[in-house]
Structure formats: C-alpha cells, structure tokens
Symmetry: C2
Subunit: 326 residues, 2 copies
C-alpha cells in the first residue's frame, strides 16, 4: 500500500491532464474555473485508497474513473449553488454568480457528462458494475438535494429525516467512492458492501462535523463566517436536535423567538442559539454522534473481514475527515 | 425486419413500464409529467429501426438503451426551456413554468442520470462502445446549445456556423440514435459510421424542415403559431440565408428595418419577412437544402454497403421526418 501523499500526487498529476480548454469557450471556461479554485478531492482520494487496499497497480483506467467522482461532485456544487442562491464558494464567486444561471446550468450539465466519460475509461469488464453503482448513487444525491429543498419549507424535521437526507446528499457519494475502489479492484461483494457502509457512515460523520464546525469552529481555519447556519435557520444536526430538546426543556418558545430574529440581530441570534446548544447538551451530543458514526464505519470494515493493515489505512482516512477543523 | 408500427408498439409498451412514481414526489412528479405530455419518440424508434436492420431479436436489453435516448432528449428539453424562458411545450406548461426553475434544474439532472441507468442495461460486451458514443453525443448537444445561446447575442452568423450549431443541437443525437442501434446489434464499424452519418444528415434535414414549417407550415397541423421564429428574430436557416442574400440584392436595410419592428407590429413583420424569403428565393433554397441533406443521408447508406431492403427501410424513416407537416 502506498502512503497517502503518493496517492494524492498520482491524483494531482492526472487532474492536471484533464483538458477543459475546448470550444465553445463560454461552455468550458466555467468548468476549468471550478477545477482551478480547488477542493479537497476527498472522493477520488478515498476511491484510490480503497483500490489500494487490494492492489498497487494504479493505472490510468483506475485514476480517471476515480476523478469521475470529483467531476460529478463539482457538477452537483455548480447546480446546488444556483438552487441555493449561493454567491461564494471556497472564497471565490460561484459559477452562476460569475456567468449567470444559464451558463451554470449548461456547464454543470457538461460536467455531469464528463463524469461519465471518465468513468467509461475503467477496465471494460468492470464497467457495468461501476456504472450501476455510479447511477444509483447519483440518483440518491439528487433525491437528497430535493429533500433538503423540501425541508426548507417545513417548520420541523425529525432526526431520522435529517439523517436520511444527509445520508443521500453526502453519505452515498463517499460510500460510492469507497466501494468504487473495491469494484475497480475486482474485490468480492462482501468487501464492496463493507467499504460502501464504511463510506456512508464516514459521510454522515463528516456532515455532522461540518454542521458542528459551522457553529463551533474557528473562523480563520474554517474559511467562512461562523454561525451562518444559525443565522439562516438551516436545519443542521444541531438545530434538529435542539428543536426536540427545547420542547422537553420547556424552552421551545425561547428558541422560536430566537429563530425569528432578523439579519439586524444576527450576532445576538448566533450567540444565543450557540449558548442554547451548549446548555441543552446538543454540542456534546453532536461530538458523540460523530464518534458513533465513526464507530459504525469501523464496525463495517471489521464485519467485512478486512485485515489489520487495511483497517488501519481506512481508519486513518476517516479520522482525518472527522477530526478536521475545516 | 418488423414494420414500423410493431417497433412503435414494442417501444410504447416498454415506455409504460418506466416507473417514475418514487420518493420524493417533488423530484419525480415533473419527470412523469414530461413523459405524460408525449413526444414523437423519434430517437428510440430510429435506434430500434437501425437495430432491426441487423437483428429481429429485440429484447429488453435493446429497448431500454433505446429509451435512454428519449430520456436524455427530454432532459435537454427541460433544461433548454429554463434557459430559453419557454413557458409552453406541446401545448402544455413547461416544467419550470409549472414548478419553478429549481425543480426543473434538479428533475432535469435526475432525468440525465436515468438515461445512463437505462443505457447501462445494454448487453455487457457492448456497454463501453455504447457509453462512449452516448457521452460524446451528449457533449456535442451541450456545445450546440451553448453556441445557440452565444449566437443570440451576435448580429449575424454564417451558414457554416448555423449548420455546425444545429448539427450539434439536433444532428448528433439522431446520428447517435441510428448508430446506437448498430452498436447494440454488434454491427461492424463501417455500418455504424454509415448509420451515424445517415442520422446526422437526416437531423439537419429535420431541423431545416422545422425552421421551414415555422414560417411556411399550416398552423392547425404544426401545433404552434406560424411565424414565431420571424417575430423573435430567431436565427433560423431561412433568416441566416436571407441575411446573406439581402446584402447582395441591396435589401439589407429593408431587412434590418423589418427585424427592428416590435411586438405591436408582429403580423406585418411576419408577413413582410415571409414575402422577402419568397422574393429572394430563400423558401425554394430551403426546400432544396432539405433534399440535399436527405440525399447525403442516403449516400452514406450506399457508401456503407447496405442492401436494398435495409436502405428502403431507413429511407422511409427519413422521408417521414422531412416530409412531415408538424
């Protein structure tokens, strides 16, 4: 098995070979821009790490399908940013803010097609399984995004609804990334399923950690203003849990009054809700929930019969994701 | 070979098995709606007709990939209608007019994924070739749509630019449909290429015929108001050709004055431009251009060595497309 930085280098070299300088420029420039403003490339890295559990033979027909996961992820970001009317991502203007909605729709569509084009470069005998995994995942991501939008119009959602929604929005693509590595390596069904579950649970932990950092992170490290979720009444893990606890603690009216505060009282609102999260033990429970998902992820590896070295590699990957500060 | 109505029946039966009644309803309802309001299903029918040149063994793993072409086509319509701000299609409200832009973006995305899901049901040994053909085509369609939008902001375009643009917007998907049938039947490269060129040229003829009918068709049969292209200064085959002829005929200023007329003089504008198309021989040339593309389509079949019966079947298909009145 290769160390993480070797896999990362392989990935970065291949990323640089992707050529988006084609005609018409109006279509391809936004695609190049999205890749230019970076990203953590977690999904292809997870895919290669997973593949590398079974094989050291990391060739183009493995790396390009891994990159397809990144291209698909970037496509969803471009379209999500239109739908969510987000003007900034990674401290840069979003595609629709820079070029308008029409360009963002069409460049996003082109990115989704490019994802399939690179996936199609996988070994021929693995293609049908890889494509099925990929399309099932992509449908899940769409369903998750739709649920997210639907839930915006609801006063409350249950924790089950929250976990199901983020499972689809974030979980299934990390699950697919981990499982894809195993599929491309020709691993058996038990291993594929184990890595899928590992990726899914790690995705949940990752999302809860993201929600956590939005309220309790360090702005300098996190890269965006702290408290945005609270200010926007976003149904984060923290708010969903707090809504239920506030009822039991007879602080429901207080919470509702805080949520009704306008942008002119943004700082007071963030501070007060943050304090309620601490008072009601929501902060602590979030930390526990992250660890619980992480434990389930590791359990899935154990159940699938991975050996010590394989388990250590995947555990390190997951821990880097959930103990991050940005 | 089966007669056309048999192929059409096979297709319609399989179309009815597509089940879009899934959760969340907000995502799937618009997809079901798009298929409910019909369409001519030309692309899957062309694919099956092409497949049937080589084999009578039309099974689900042929029909579902054929339907993928229709699903992809419907996806492009949903997104194009947002970009073009079109509120009506097939005499019904478009998806974005009925449910809003966000739903149209996301349901369109889901449809594009479904297209790959159904394509993936093709015979395993054909999948890589089928997927490459499909993604190359899909990229072409995106490029064509982008060029169409770019050209809207240009005062004039050349006939070469027009033909290239409609070749991508309409030609490549019909080309892909015809070629896909051959790929799925395991036909040789020469036959695949011949059918691709046949579909491409038929697509051009189809589009010029569409432009022609928009100005010279019978409204009752065509299904939408005649003259819409003229009223909107749309760069149709007729207008592109007329722009160049008007220059030679010293009627450029007259044409520009007509194009500058507002919606309050819609009828006068349509009538005057229509008359200029007749005066300058543009109408007649359009009829010739349609036949020229049709001839190229048939020549491609001849060059690829199709026999008499095969050629007759494809010729009948093409003629139905270009001699249509709607």
């Amino acid at each position: 098995m290769f160390p993480r930085n070797i896999l990362s280098n392989i990935l970065n070299k291949s990323l640089m070979t992707l050529n988006f300088k084609k005609e018409p420029e109006t279509l391809y420039e936004p695609i190049e821009y999205m890749f230019g403003i970076g990203g953590k490339h977690l999904r292809p890295l997870l895919c290669l790490t997973s593949f590398n559990l079974f094989s050291d033979n990391i060739t183009d027909d493995i790396v390009y399908p891994a990159l397809a996961l990144e291209i698909f992820h970037e496509f969803t970001l471009v379209h999500d940013d239109i739908m969510d009317k987000s003007d900034t991502r990674r401290n840069q203007p979003t595609v629709h803010a820079k070029w308008g909605d029409n360009t963002a729709i069409l460049s996003g569509d082109a990115m989704s097609i490019l994802a399939y084009r690179y996936l199609a470069l996988c070994p021929k005998d693995k293609l049908q399984a890889a494509l099925k995994l990929f399309t099932d995942t992509a449908m899940g991501v769409c369903e998750g995004q739709q649920k997210d939008m639907d839930y915006e119009d609801q006063a409350f959602i249950t924790m089950d609804e929250y976990m199901d929604m983020v499972g689809q929005k974030t979980g299934v693509l990390l699950a697919c990334s981990a499982a894809m590595g195993a599929v491309l390596a020709g691993a058996g069904e038990e291993k594929v399923k184990g890595l899928y579950e590992f990726g899914y649970q790690t995705g949940l932990a990752f999302q809860i950690a993201d929600d956590y950092l939005d309220t309790f992170g360090d702005q300098k490290i996190f890269g965006k203003p702290i408290g945005g979720d609270i200010a926007n009444n976003k149904k984060s893990w923290l708010l969903v849990e707090c809504t239920h606890r506030a009822k039991t603690a007879d602080r429901k009216d207080e919470l509702n009054a805080l949520l009704a505060l306008g942008d002119d009282e943004r700082e007071r609102k963030i501070e007060a809700v943050r304090q309620m999260y601490i008072d009601l033990g929501v902060r602590e429970s979030a930390e526990e929930a992250i660890l619980e998902c992480h434990a389930k992820a590791l359990k899935a590896l154990e159940d699938a019969g991975f050996d010590e070295e394989q388990t250590a590699t995947m555990t390190a990957f997951a821990e880097q994701l959930i103990h991050r500060e940005k």
